[in-house]
């Protein structure tokens, strides 16, 4: 990647300012060289997309549960508009009128051409782990109530694969929490044999009962 597309890393505030012509894969490689990453992943094919494309189309983030969408990761931007260049302020949050950057993002260049963006970055995680648990209907509610912050969730035939990342000790504690929550749920679930043994009133009477 040419240096002219990559302006600055603010290591104190964990922000990177780049030209939106930079490709996501190149940006990630450049950040990883310095032990950082970007909390955005939209599949391998999206790594070839430019940042401009991601911001203007608003591609969904597969890691949104932990890091939010691309709109949340973008702290400020510069857009060329018919009224001149609009540079939004580089602040974490504000209450100064509408969030102009959100109007430009996802608008497919109708209101402005995004030329530069400042994005949040993350330090390379200490540990990444996938935990698979058998999960019922209410498991995800318990997961959020339990304070777990997953990277991704993947449900496959009654099992749930949960990807975790962060500080090693915290990831291990999250794994234990997930297992405890799954065990609690299976204890709460009625056993099949018990269900059969008890007679529940049916919503519709059987043929025999009707006759």
């Amino acid at each position: 990647m040419s240096a002219s597309l990559f302006y600055m890393i603010d290591k104190k505030s964990l922000l990177v300012t780049v030209s939106t012509h930079v490709k996501l894969g190149e940006l990630r490689r450049r950040l990883q060289q310095q032990n950082y990453d970007i909390g955005f992943f939209a599949g391998k094919s999206a790594e070839h997309c430019t940042l401009k494309h991601l911001l203007e189309e608003g591609l969904p983030n597969l890691w949104h549960l932990r890091y939010g969408e691309i709109q949340d990761l973008c702290t400020s931007l510069v857009a060329a508009t018919p009224l001149g260049h609009v540079r939004t302020k580089k602040v974490p949050r504000a209450a100064t009128g509408p969030d102009l950057k959100k109007i430009f993002m996802g608008s497919r260049r109708h209101y402005g051409d995004i030329e530069e963006a400042t994005l949040q970055i993350i330090p390379k995680p200490d540990c990444r782990k996938t935990v698979v648990v058998r999960a019922g209907k209410d498991f995800l509610k318990r997961l959020w109530a339990g304070g777990v912050r997953p990277l991704t969730l993947l449900r496959r035939s009654g099992a749930l694969a949960i990807e975790l990342e962060g500080l090693k000790d915290v990831v291990l504690a999250e794994e234990k929490t997930l297992k405890a929550l799954a065990a609690r749920e299976s204890d709460a679930r009625p056993r099949r044999s018990n269900v059969r043994a008890r007679s529940f009133p049916r919503s519709r009477p059987s043929q025999k009962e009707r006759s």
Binding site: D10, K12, S13, L14, L15, L65, D72, T75, T81, L83, G84, H85, V86, R87, T88, K89, K90, V91, P92, R93, A94, A95, T96, G97, P98, D99, L100, K102, I103, G106, S107, H110, Y111, Q120, I122, P123, P125, K137, L140, K141, R142, L143, W144, A145, G146, G147, V148, R149, R155, E165, G166, L167, D169, V170, L172, A173, E174, K176, T177, A180
Partner: protein, 482 residues
Amino acid sequence: MMSGNLLDLKAGLSPYLPDAVCWPESTAEVSKIVKWAFQERVPITPYGAGSGVSGGTIPLQAGVVVDLKRMNRIESVVGFQGEQDGLFSVTAQCGIVGMHLEEKLQYRGVTLGHFPSSILCATLGGYLACRSAGQLSSKYGKIEDMVQDVEAVLPNGDIVSFGEAIPQYPHARAKDILVGTEGCLGIITRARLKAWPLPESTLWRGLQFPKLSDAFEAMREILQLGLRPAVMRLYDEVDTFLLSHGYRKQNAEPPAAWKKYLPDLPFKKWAGKKAHHILFSNASFLQRTFEAFSPKVILILGLEGHPPLAEAQLKAILELSKKRKVVDLGPEPGLHWLRHRYSVSYKMPGVFLDDAFVDTIEVASTWDRLPSLYENIRRALMPQALILAHFSHAYVDGCSIYFTILSRTGEPERDRERYKDLWNKAMEEALQVGATISHHHGIGLLKAKFLPQELATGMEWYRSLKHELDPKNLMNPGKMGL
């Protein structure tokens, strides 16, 4: 009501009054009122519960005040995205008071995670109008992070329903245009918000640091390493002194029985008032004394979730802070804050009754500029006011600073001048550092003259939005510098 208005009242100036107040019960009724006002060129000021401190609901040009408090229904609480991710989606009318909304949600095992200090006297519409932030924003975000969609009435009376775009701006989401505009571009009548299952438990801790700069760095590291305490509040030296005094007083032995029978002498009241006068008149000297003799600061943490996980997170935080000589004060400072978290605002009128004035200034910046923002504002205001500050609403890339200023001159007219002077100085310093002039109170009338500097070229864009949607300038006229 903003502190400036209280000073105006004390100086004998009469407040702005509307010609009429309407209490609609549905979006259709709001639409009828706005259509009529549009035809008759009558100014409209939307109103929630009036907790705003920036003067956003003052009817500057009289006209009609549209009070939305009768629109207070929660319409649905459903699993979000077909319950695929375990979160909820709440649809409610915007006149509902924050505490009522939260209580009704908690009854169903759900929380919005939005707990502003004004929760008892602010509505959902007010939250959305000025991009409010709650005390648990480090985990749940600000209201703009929670809102999924809005229904609104535009200045010409047309309704924009859920899922629809504003006709003039078909390529942007209505919520991105309307949230934060303080009723200047339309009235938000209903909203759909993300909600969370109630946390299993909360672990409270107070951590004492020897220096503010150490605590500040620890706070940044905690967030940047991926930990998300729901509550994270760092108090500076003076604020720490008051907080510690509060929870020590609460835990102190009850007063001796004979003290209860002492009459409430008028002398006691007079002495208290005099003490306040001395305190506020010698603010600068007192400030330095506080900092010299009580340099320690307290960071309050609230960690939500499964108890062993919250314990593990706390352990990681203590490990991170070890190099900064942290002292674990146990749960009491956090629990004390929790018990009194909504009471601070209700103590403010007492200061006005003591012939002084108080106000709060909430600014925010990225972490790299935060120390200079804190120092510069304090340096500018210290000669004229006693300043307390806490760092709350912390994010990965920055944090907000919440200054409380107390001052008095002894004369109502000079109080008004000093008040304006203090605000001007604080805003100028914030703009010079590159910080935002408002993190969650909004712009309203109070900060309107600074908005063009804050938004720079963005102000032209905002003005063009206003011109396009409200060409007659009838929606909340005179606010936000539009």
